[in-house]
Amino acid sequence: MDLHEYQAKERFRAAGIPVPPGEVATTPAEAEKLAAKYGGAVVVKAQVHSGGRGKAGGVKLAKTPAEARGHAEKILGMQIKGLTVEKVLVTPAENIATEAYVGVLIDRAKQAPTFIVSAAGGIDIETVAKETPEKVRKLAVDPRYGLLPHQAYWLANFLYDDDALIKQATKIISQLYDSFVSSGASMAEINPMITTPSGEVKAIDAKMSIDDNELFRRLEVAAMRDVSAEPPAEAKARAAGLSFVKLDGNVGCCVNGAGLAMATMDLVKYYGGNPANFLDIGGSSNPDKVVAALEIITSDPNVKAILFNIFGGITRCDDVANGIIEAMRRIEIEPPIVIRLTGTNEEIALKILEKAGFPAYTSMDAVVEKAVQLASA
C-alpha cells in the first residue's frame, strides 16, 4: 500500500524528522485559506500515487493566496498517469541551498533494509545509481540490530562537509529508519532532503510504501488507505479476500494461484486475445469467493467472455464447480463462461458442470482458445 506525500510526512513528523508544516485541501477555496494562514509563498502539490508529479504540472509555487487558489483549480481534477487528483497539499515554500536524497528499502538480494544516499538529490535515484555509482553510498542494515549510530553517521558524512549539517542528517537518517520499521514500510524516501541558507536540514518531500503483510498490526497506518485512489473493483476484491488487478482486455480470468493466473493471462495473449484482469481466488474453495469473483469480473463492461482455470491441489474441483453454479443462481451473468478444471475430484466436478449445462474442459490451451474466440465473436 502506497501512502500519499502528506501521510508519509505525518509518519516522519511522528518520528521527529523536521518536516515543514502543511495541510491538505480538496477545494480551491480551502487551498486559498491555507495559503493565507501560512503567509508568504506556498507550494501547491498534487497528492496522487504516482511519480513525475512536477513534470505533469501537479506541483506549483504560489506567491499569494489568490495564486494558490488558481493553481489548486488547475491541479484538482487533473489526471496524472491515469489517476485523478482529489487532494492537494499546501505547504510553505522553503529557501533551498542544497538538495540530497535519502532512502531505505528492502533489498531482495541482500534480504535486508538497505539505505541509499546521494548528494545529488531531487532527481531519479535509479538513474544516478546506474550512471554515476560514485555519487551514491549504500548500506545494508542488519535487521536484528537496526541502524547503528556509526552507520547513520557514515551515511550522513557522505552528504555534507559541514559538521553541523552532518550532525542533523545523522539524526534524520536514524529517525527515518525508526519510521520505516514502526510504519511497517517496504520503502521510505526523503527526496529531496534540503539544507537552508541558515543551515537547517529538512525533509520537503516524502514517499512511503507499506508492506501489506504488516497492516494487521499497524492499524493507524492501515487507516491511511485512500480507497478513492484505487479502482472500486480492486477495493471490493480486497474486501472479499481476492487478489485482483484490472487490465484493459476483454477476457475475464478467474484462476487459483498467482503463478497459474499470470500464465493464463499470458496464454490469452498467446492465442490473440487480451486479458481483462488478473484474479487469484486463492487456495480456498468457498463458493462465496467464486460469487464475489464473478461479480467483480462482470462489473467490467469490457468483459466479453469469462474463463475459469482451476488446478485442484488444495482447492477441490467439485467445490469450485458448485460455487460457479451457486453464483449463477445468485446473479445474472451475461458473458459466456468456459471452465477448465483439473486435479482433485475433477471427474465429479465435470459431471456437476455438464449436468448444469456448462462447457467444461480439462486442457488449459483448449479453454483459453475457446474463451478468446467467444470474446472476439
Partner: protein, 295 residues
C-alpha cells in the same frame, strides 16, 4: 536419489492442530512421509490422529519435539503473525530444513528470521511456498502427491498451482520427477533458484531441470548465469507474467516489476542468452524437456 529430503527425513509439523496443518499432516503421512511429531503450544501431551492408525505425538515446543523424536525437518502452518517466530524456534532447536508454507508473513520479520536461520546453518524453504516433494520419498508441504511420478526431471518453481500444472503435464507425457520444489512467491525467500539448481546438479538421479519463474526480482537472471557457468545438466525455463503491467503486485508479494527491473522479457532474454530454452506456454515445457533429455 533426490534433493533436500528423502524417505529418511523425520518431520515435525508446526501448527499441527490448525485447519490446514491437520489436513496436510494426514496427506503427508498418507504419502509416506515420516511425520514424527507436531507442535502446538498448550496441546503438548495430546495425540494427533493420523490416517490408518499412524498417530503423532504433540509437543508444546520445538526443543522438546526434537529431543524426543530426533527430527531433522519441520513444516510450518502457523498464522502469519507467528510464522517468523516459528522459523526462528525451529532453527534454534537445530532443525536442518525448515519449510514455511504460511503466506502473508511481514517482510521485516522474514529479514530477521532468515538472518537468524543462516547463522544457525538451517535451510529455510519459503515462506509462501507449497513445499517440496521427493517422489517415492517424502512430501513436505501441500504439493498434491497424486500428480507426481518417478523419473529423471527435477522441478523448481516460485509458484504453487503453476508447478502442479507443469508436473501434471510431465507425468502425463511419461516424464517422471526426482524432486519438485516450490521456493515461494515472497520477496525474501530462504532457498533460491541457484540453491536448487546446485543441488539438482549434484543429484545423480536428476538428468534435467525445469525452472518456473515469474516477474519480480533478478533471481532467474542469476540462475540463468549459474546454469551456463556451473551446470552440466540441461535446464528448461518458463516465465509467468509477460502480460503483467509494471508496478502492480500480481498476487504473490514478490511478483512485481519495479522500474525496469524484473520484467518477463528481461528474464526470458537472459535465460535464452545463457542457453536455457524457454517454453512459450506451459504446454511446451514437455517438448523442451524431451529434447533436452535426448542430448
Amino acid at each position: 536419489m533426490a534433493i533436500f529430503t528423502d524417505k529418511n527425513t523425520k518431520l515435525i509439523v508446526q501448527g499441527i492442530t490448525g485447519r490446514d496443518g491437520s489436513f496436510h499432516t494426514r496427506e503427508m503421512i498418507a504419502y509416506g512421509t515420516q511425520v514424527v511429531g507436531g507442535v502446538t503450544p498448550g496441546k503438548g501431551g495430546q495425540t494427533f490422529e493420523g490416517p490408518s492408525g499412524k498417530n503423532v505425538p504433540i509437543f508444546n515446543a520445538m526443543d522438546e519435539a526434537v529431543a524426543a523424536t530426533g527430527a531433522n525437518a519441520s513444516v510450518i502452518f502457523v498464522p502469519p503473525a507467528f510464522a517468523a517466530g516459528a522459523i526462528v524456534e525451529a532453527a534454534d532447536a537445530g532443525i536442518a530444513l525448515i519449510v514455511a508454507i504460511t503466506e502473508g508473513v511481514p517482510v521485516l520479520d522474514m529479514a530477521r528470521a532468515h538472518a537468524f536461520a543462516r547463522d544457525r546453518g538451517s535451510r529455510v524453504l519459503g515462506p509462501n511456498c507449497p513445499g517440496l516433494l521427493t517422489v517415492g520419498g517424502a512430501k513436505i508441504g501441500i504439493l498434491p502427491g497424486r500428480i507426481v511420478s518417478p523419473g529423471p526431471v527435477g522441478v523448481v518453481s516460485r509458484s504453487g498451482t503453476l508447478t502442479y500444472e507443469a508436473v501434471h503435464q510431465l507425468t502425463h507425457a511419461g516424464l517422471g520427477q526426482t524432486t519438485c520444489v516450490g521456493i515461494g512467491g515472497d520477496p525474501l525467500i530462504g532457498t533460491n533458484f541457484i540453491d536448487c539448481l546446485a543441488a539438482f546438479e549434484k543429484d545423480p538421479a536428476t538428468r534435467a531441470v525445469v525452472m518456473i519463474g515469474e516477474i519480480g526480482g533478478t533471481d532467474e537472471q542469476a540462475a540463468a548465469k549459474f546454469a551456463k557457468d556451473k551446470m552440466s545438466k540441461p535446464v528448461v525455463g518458463f516465465i509467468a507474467g509477460q502480460t503483467a503491467p509494471p508496478g502492480r503486485r500480481m498476487g504473490h508479494a514478490g511478483a512485481i516489476i519495479s522500474g525496469a527491473e524484473g520484467t518477463a522479457a528481461e528474464k526470458i532474454k537472459t535465460l535464452e542468452a545463457c542457453g536455457v530454452p524457454v517454453a512459450k506456454r506451459p504446454a511446451d515445457i514437455v517438448g523442451l524437456v524431451m529434447e533436452a533429455l535426448k542430448k
